[in-house]
Amino acid sequence: MRFGWTADQVALREAVRDLLASACPPSVVRAAWPGGDESSVEALWSALTGMGIPGAVGELGLDEVDLVSLLEETGYAAVPLPVVETAAVAAPLLAATGDPGGHLPGILAGRTRVAVAGGLVPYGRRATLVLHLDGPAAWLSTLDGAVDETTVDGSLAAVRVPKPSGEPLTEDAELVGLAADRLALGAAAQLVGLGRRMLDLTVGYVRERRQFGVPVGSFQAVKHHLADALVRLEFAAPAVYAAAWALAGRRPERGRDVSTAVLLATEAAREAARTAIQCHGAIGYTVEYDLHLYAKRAWAVAATCDTDAHLARVAEALDLKGAAA
């Protein structure tokens, strides 16, 4: 048994973290909101492309274990672009299906971004293609007919697109299922990262902010809220890494493990958001402060997770399906 990172994995994570710290500070997330300066968002994609992220699976030879902490970092930075969708979902699926439309070179070059539809299409306004994962088949469509949608997380640049018709990209249920699990794993990893960011912001704030003559962070109630939120996150993260390993090895328990990761990460991120807003007090409730950028993203990502389906999948793996009334 081993459950650690290689030096290469650690180095890659740190490189991505450093890159995002400079290329995706809160001001860039803010710029992705309506009326913001989209050029800084474009610059961020260029920076990610410069590191080879969009083609990381094929080009850099990364598997899900290599990728997972990198995706966590994109959550930590609330990258307002379809990184998970393009790098971890679409690119491997296109490669596996022989890339009939010839999109991979564009992805590698940073010209093509692929969003994934799920009711809404998050980052659709910033994508060139939309991937539809629907049961046993997948389709690829353009943004033709896309309609903008106003979302709580204004940085989503979400659209709605018509349901695709015509030739599917693939009808290989195994491949499509794998793509859906990668998307779910990416969401779980981002949620852990978002949770960590919200806790970091909160810890920083309550150490400085003084009320009743002492830092707010010296009150037991604040300490205990934050400790609980941290515990929840710290115990979700290993489940996310284990799911990445199960997925990378195409292990039979991967469905159960991905669903477990998603459920734990969703709960942890939601609790982190609640805790962060509560411990900040009024300032956490303003848009002039950065916290809302991360909280709203966390809610948006968490909303994509089909809790009932994931619960059912774990129940089935535990042979509890038949126990339902």
């Binding site: 106003t150 709580v152 989503l156 009743f212 009150f219 609640r274 509560q278 909303a303 809790t307």
Partner: protein, 382 residues
């Protein structure tokens, strides 16, 4: 006196009248949020219509524009108001918070002068409690009021913040330090300040739910005459506690609002053809929470009418409704699933609900109050 949870004949008549009027008058389309500049103006129009029909402050004496309604009738009006989906009350800080304080601590002159204009939505009041360094710790207020004996009043300076709808209101009530030597919650005085007075600057800023509903209010040597001191110089803390009691308790948070929200949640759940049992249970439990809140407030009204002051029980009230409100909205978002991301009524309501456990004294502070004043646990200990 015993238990009867049905309306008396006169209560039923009152309910019927309110319901009929609301049915005929509530705007068919929801108004834009009253916490934006344009929406606020629309809401003020609505408030004036309410006032014309004498529904804006039903429990007040008739001479101030009310109906002398009983507390039970007031609760009934609130139920009907929220069930009808009527607009939020942008006058609430005046009518539900300042007015009870005026009834308790004001002079006849202040009441005669202020209440009719408040009921008519001519004066629009906002709160001036928090300051950059005094949020939860209200006693940390630094804004000052310096005596101007010659002019017969006070000169106010300082900064207030988190003032809800402050950018759209005409008046502010708040605490200022009149005795700089006195410690913390001593030496404070409660002032009534017109926002068009020379020296006042108001800057609006944005809230989590997307509305520009907060304001910072800067005061620089603003003159306020003695007639606009509420409850006596140096008595500010005691007077303000009456106002925050109203804010935490029944007055601001009548059960009607949560009953209506829970009913909307149940309707949302019902509208889903197939709903996971888990989510059905959430809706059922949220509805039971609203029902529990309703019944608790009815007990409270009974106690109030029997002369038992609400006191620290208003902190229990606040703990319950604020958590309930978050719970109702979280349940709705779970039912909505991926559509919860869309900027719409439930998602905005959710964001707004998150302010409940923070404002009017954080829930952490309320828990401490309940523990110390209701349960009698020792003070202090951080």
């Amino acid at each position: 006196m015993t238990v009867d949870l049905t309306d008396t004949a006169s209560e039923a008549a009152f309910r019927a009248e309110a319901r009929a009027w609301l049915r005929a008058n509530v705007p068919a389309q929801p108004l834009p949020s009253g916490d934006t500049r344009e929406g606020f103006a629309r809401h003020v129009d609505w408030e004036r219509r309410l006032h014309e029909a004498r529904w804006s402050a039903v429990s007040w004496p008739e001479r101030y524009g009310g109906r002398d309604a009983s507390l039970w009738e007031w609760l009934i009006f609130e139920e009907e108001y929220h069930a009808a989906g009527a607009p939020q009350r942008v006058t609430q800080n005046g009518i539900f918070l300042l007015a009870p304080t005026l009834f308790e601590f004001g002079t006849d002159g202040q009441r005669d002068r202020l209440l009719p204009r408040m009921a008519a939505a001519e004066d629009l009041w906002c709160q001036g409690w928090s300051e950059p360094e005094a949020g939860s710790d209200l006693a940390g207020i630094r804004s000052t009021a310096v005596r101007d004996e010659a002019a017969g009043g006070w000169r106010l300076s300082g900064q207030k913040t988190w003032t809800t709808r402050g950018a759209f209101c005409t008046h502010l009530f708040g605490l200022f330090r009149t005795d700089p030597a006195a410690a913390r919650h001593r030496g404070l005085t409660y002032f009534l300040v017109p926002l068009d007075a020379p020296g006042v600057t108001v800057r609006g800023f944005g809230r989590l739910d997307g509305d520009e509903g907060f304001a910072e209010v800067f005061l620089s040597d603003v003159f306020v005459p003695d007639a606009d001191v509420l409850g006596g110089v140096g008595e500010g803390w005691r007077v303000a506690m009456a106002t925050t009691g109203s804010e935490r308790g029944l007055t601001l948070r009548s059960p009607g609002r949560f009953l209506a929200a829970a009913d909307r949640l149940v309707a949302l759940a019902r509208s889903r053809g197939s709903l996971a049992p888990r989510l059905r249970e959430r809706a059922v439990r949220a509805w039971m929470g609203a029902r529990a809140y309703h019944l608790y407030t009815l007990r409270d009204v009974d106690a109030l009418l029997a002369g038992v002051p609400a006191g620290a029980r208003s902190s229990m009230n606040k703990l319950f409704w604020s958590e309930l409100d978050v719970d109702i909205h979280e349940a709705a978002l779970e039912i909505l699933g991926p559509e919860a991301r869309v900027d719409a009524a439930w998602s905005r309501g959710f964001l707004f609900s998150l302010s409940g456990p923070i404002y009017a004294g954080t829930n952490e502070i309320q828990r401490t109050i309940v523990a110390e004043r209701v349960l009698g646990l020792p003070r202090g200990g951080g």
